[in-house]
């Protein structure tokens, strides 16, 4: 939970909405009115039991007071502020909490606009790149110029020479006709090529819309969990859901033929599902955790599409691409809910002190699947540790992100190079913990591991990813990877930021970009 998310306005606003005086609310929450006043004016942070009591007295969900939305606004605003477009009119970070408290809707709108601006810039870059390097355009331009040259030369000849022999004239005529036609074709091709770029541009990229969907739902989808429970009872009442159970279910319940084949008979993904033919083929080289997951996804698609569509309909996604992408993300969530039941997964995680490799064995899951499931344990009243999750490739591109830990993952830039998610590549397959401290003095435990995927022999390229999860050090006691780390010694923490552009650590030797020129201050915890 961020130390400075300004949620005081929410408490005050809600209190007034339901007609409670400060005295009444303070009494209900077991604190003094003057303390409540400090809270309402963002001079004190709240958490734990006090948060629950206030939420209860205000008749709202505790989640609404967790400040997660304010934290996001704060972080996104911080990132946006470093953009060179604001050089003449800098945003003052010190003022952000007050701005968010006073007009959160306005700040959201501002960020939507900024996001649209950024996407617009990227689109322009893409289009220019296309225009200057596109081989089709180069060829089409050349073709058009050649046709015009031919036509022009013949026209000039006709103009300058009246006494052409009939045969020659006829030949030139034919050329004229033929080249005109080719010109018409080439020109039409180029115009439709250029026109394709005009289709309405969405305000946010599909990836961002999916990100928003997950955040808005706190990465917890109760309808998918419930449906998964129902389905699991049918597939395997014992609950193990081994691969054989899943395959048998596909065969018996859905009449799908499942085959395991050599990898060279299948596409690079390692599997092929022909819905029309009811034929599912898997590569023999695919690890069992992947096969199991893919089978689960297919079952979820077949038996739970309605539940997923309900969520998508309510989500109000702007484009087909976003809806499709969101659908995939939800199906993956669904499959995990099916294979790793909420309650037993959460219980085991506690018992095993979040030893991810042991959880992998216990649930026949991959590293990424376990990490991802850990971030979805957000059922109100039965939460697991609030984790963040991030997946990058070896170039640092972030392909998956979600955070409930209070840490804000970067949206528009690469992550801080000091984060262990990068260093994990140096020792692939090893689990590397890291104790970090951010400029606002919040401390986290990061756990990362670089993994290889794809198995098809020596010649098939493999993909490498690094997956990192983490949480506030407040939860370190429950995490085996924290054992032995000097969490009580702040100086032992690695000083990190979120991303170089918005990081105030001027002395950092790993800095990739200069500090943004906006008079940035280091955020300090409110006293």
């Amino acid at each position: 939970m961020s130390r400075q998310a300004p949620i005081g306005h929410r408490i005050r606003g809600r209190r007034k909405d339901i007609g409670l005086t400060q005295n009444a609310l303070a009494k209900a929450a077991g604190i003094s009115p003057s303390y409540l006043n400090l809270i309402e004016h963002n001079r004190r942070a709240i958490g734990g039991g006090l948060l629950l009591r206030l939420a209860s007295a205000l008749e709202i969900q505790p989640h609404a007071l967790s400040g997660s939305e304010e934290s996001r606004l704060l972080a996104d605003l911080g990132e946006a502020a470093t953009d060179p477009v604001f050089r003449e009119t800098p945003l003052i970070p010190r003022e952000f909490p007050a701005m968010i408290a006073a007009a959160p809707g306005m700040i959201s709108a501002f960020l939507s606009l900024y996001r649209a601006y950024r996407n617009g810039l990227e689109e322009i870059d893409n289009l220019s790149e296309r225009l200057s390097h596109d081989p089709f355009l180069a060829e089409a331009s050349h073709s058009i110029l050649t046709r015009i040259t031919s036509i022009r030369t013949v026209a000039e000849i006709f103009d300058d020479y009246d006494d052409l022999p009939a045969e020659q004239r006829a030949r030139f005529n034919a050329t004229l006709v033929r080249e005109s036609q080719r010109l018409a074709e080439s020109a039409t091709e180029i115009f439709s090529f250029l026109e394709r770029g005009d289709a309405g541009r969405p305000a946010a990229s599909p990836a961002e819309e999916v990100d928003d969907l997950l955040y808005d739902n706190a990465n917890y989808f109760p309808t998918l969990e419930d449906r998964a429970d129902e389905m699991r009872a049918v597939i395997d009442p014992a609950g193990g859901l081994f691969l054989t159970d899943l395959i048998k279910h596909l065969e018996r319940r859905h009449q799908i033929r499942v085959d395991r084949l050599p990898p060279e008979d299948l596409p690079a993904s390692g599997f092929d599902w022909n819905r029309a033919d009811s034929h599912l083929r898997f590569s023999r080289a695919m690890p069992i955790t992947s096969t199991r997951f893919h089978a689960a996804r297919i079952i979820c698609r077949l038996e739970g599409e309605d539940t997923v569509n309900d969520i998508l309909d309510r989500a109000n996604l702007g484009t087909d691409a976003a809806r499709q992408r969101a659908g995939e993300a939800l199906i993956s969530y669904f499959a995990a809910a099916l294979l790793f039941p909420y309650d037993s997964f959460r219980a085991e995680a506690q018992i095993l002190r979040h030893d991810i490799e042991l959880l992998q064995q216990r649930f026949a899951a991959s590293w990424e699947q376990v990490c991802h499931r850990l971030t979805t344990l957000r059922r109100p009243g039965a939460e697991g540790i609030p984790f963040h999750f991030m997946r990058t490739d070896i170039a640092g591109n972030i392909s998956k992100r979600f955070s409930a830990s209070g840490l804000q993952l970067p949206r528009y830039s690469g992550a801080c190079p000091r984060w262990v998610v990068h260093e994990a590549y140096l020792t692939p397959e090893r689990v590397i913990p890291q104790f970090v401290r951010l400029p606002d003095e919040s401390e986290y435990l990061f756990i990362a591991r670089a993994v290889r995927t794809g198995a098809g022999g020596y010649r098939v390229p493999q993909s490498v990813y690094s997956v990192m999860i983490g949480c506030d050090t407040a939860f370190a006691r429950d995490i085996i990877y924290a054992d032995g780390l000097p969490l009580d010694t702040p100086q032992a923490a690695v000083p990190v930021g979120i991303g170089c552009r918005q990081c105030p650590r001027e002395e950092c030797m790993q800095r990739a970009y200069a500090v943004a020129d906006t008079g940035h201050e280091i955020h300090t915890t409110p006293k």
Partner: protein, 127 residues
């Protein structure tokens, strides 16, 4: 009897070859045609034409390679070359001039323009 000036047209687009050949012959020149870079180099070495109209974009080696080959060979070095190019980029112009091209015409060119330039260059050459 004065010899008719020999003009080599190195161009792979048939329609342009047709028009240019017609015009060069009308002017009284002896026209031969090459349809790719290698052929152009061979014919220049063999015939030592008085003028070469050279397209940049040809199959095989491109027009710049032809110019380089012609200028590097002491026998063919003095042959005047006029480049026909669809590229209007400054960098191509400079590259051509550096390699020793004598004149540039960009497509879509006017044949009248090409003819008058060829005439001028051949006249200058005679002197």
């Amino acid at each position: 009897m004065t010899e008719r000036p020999k003009v080599l047209i190195a161009e792979d687009e048939e329609t342009i070859v047709e028009s240019l050949s017609f015009l060069m012959e009308k002017e009284g020149y002896d026209v031969s045609v090459a349809t790719d870079g290698q052929m152009a180099i061979a014919m220049i070495v063999r015939d030592l034409p008085d003028m070469v109209l050279l397209d940049v974009m040809m199959p095989g080696c491109d027009g710049f390679d032809v110019v380089r080959a012609v200028r590097e060979n002491p026998q063919t070095r003095p042959v005047p070359i006029m480049m026909l190019t669809a590229k209007t980029r400054e960098v191509d112009r400079r590259k051509g001039l550096e390699l020793g091209v004598d004149d540039f015409v960009t497509k879509p060119f006017s044949t009248r323009d090409v003819v008058s330039r060829v005439k001028a260059m051949l006249a200058g050459d005679r002197n």
